[in-house]
Amino acid sequence: MARVRLKYYAVLREQAGRGEETVETGAADAAGLFEELAARHGFSLGRDRLRVAVNAEFADWSRTLADGDEIVFIPPVAGG
């Protein structure tokens, strides 16, 4: 089990109903964590449309999770 911090932005923030949360997870990697949270919060975007950042750097979905990691799921960007 790892204890990780999530931050949510944009459509994911609205669907999660919160900007951040801390969770205990048994997921093996970032992908597994996303599937857990997508089920809990009812995210409309699939993982194939998102990227993930761990500790404020882009990461692979296969990234294993460590206690204290800060995870952000990144919806399709739309700057400009």
């Binding site: 944009a10 699939g46 919806p75 399709p76 739309a78």
Partner: protein, 159 residues
Amino acid sequence: MNGFSFSRGPIDPAALAAGLADVAAGGFVSFEGRVRNENEGREVRRLDYEAFEELALKEGARIVAEAVERFGIRGACCVHRLGELGLGEVAVWVGVASGHRAEAFAACRYIIDEVKHRVPIWKKEHYLDGDSGWVNCERCAEAAAQPGHAHGHGHPHGH
């Protein structure tokens, strides 16, 4: 004045351009992305921008550094607004100073294209009809549900 930053108040292009003043720069190109009154056929009333700022600042700085490296320009700066914006307001500003104009145009275009594709910034459009939506999210999700209409991540939105 090089680099990438956010602004919570109105962007002042003249002040930003002055920050890139350089007597060895014969060419200066700037881009302003402004809030339009229409997007994909819907009448827009205002926009909200938000960003994952810690990562966005790093990725924005990488893009500007790439442009300096690739095009040999003398200076470049990009500022993006956050928060609520009305029609006609400047949402993003890019300025490039260079010895000659060809590299200034190429680098300015590179920076805005990469920022739109890579930097974690999101835009919620509020429409005249009272509806609202996150650009590239809700409607792309609908499109993705139709066979043959899958959109990739970071699908360019085209301002």
